[in-house]
Symmetry: C2
Subunit: 80 residues, 2 copies
């Protein structure tokens, strides 16, 4: 079966996110108020062929750890 | 109250996603098998000051429509 797994990769909370800051400024400029902060990361959708959901999640975990996220600057969350 | 809202911006399903294709190749190269396809988009976290969740969602919707997503190439999903 093919499982669809989402890997969300976001900048660590301790780090500045200049892209997010720029978007916050942009929102203000076009008149959208009330946005206190913006953080921008990646969303990776993996379509994994696997016998079980557990196995697919492990493949995604390995992919996130080895390729998708840089642990120095980013953390990730996996949802099936 | 400050609401945390996630806006997921992904390339439309009809379009090629060269970044995703590259990552799929990369996963294969480092020995992670079983990944049929990869799509890569953005994940934007908005921290919105608002009186109600409904109002915060509307601000996010407006932000997504006007700035975050390009409807020619991308679709978005909002989760509170």
């Amino acid at each position: 079966m093919t499982y669809t797994i989402q890997v969300k990769v976001m900048p660590l909370k301790e780090l500045l996110d200049p892209q997010g800051k720029a978007v916050r400024g942009g929102l203000e400029n076009i008149g959208i108020a009330g946005v206190q902060d913006v953080r921008i990361g990646k969303n990776v959708t993996l379509y994994i062929d696997s016998a079980s959901e557990e196995e697919a999640r492990q493949v995604a975990e390995e992919a996130a750890k080895k390729l998708l996220a840089n642990p120095v600057m980013e953390y990730y969350e996996i949802t099936v």
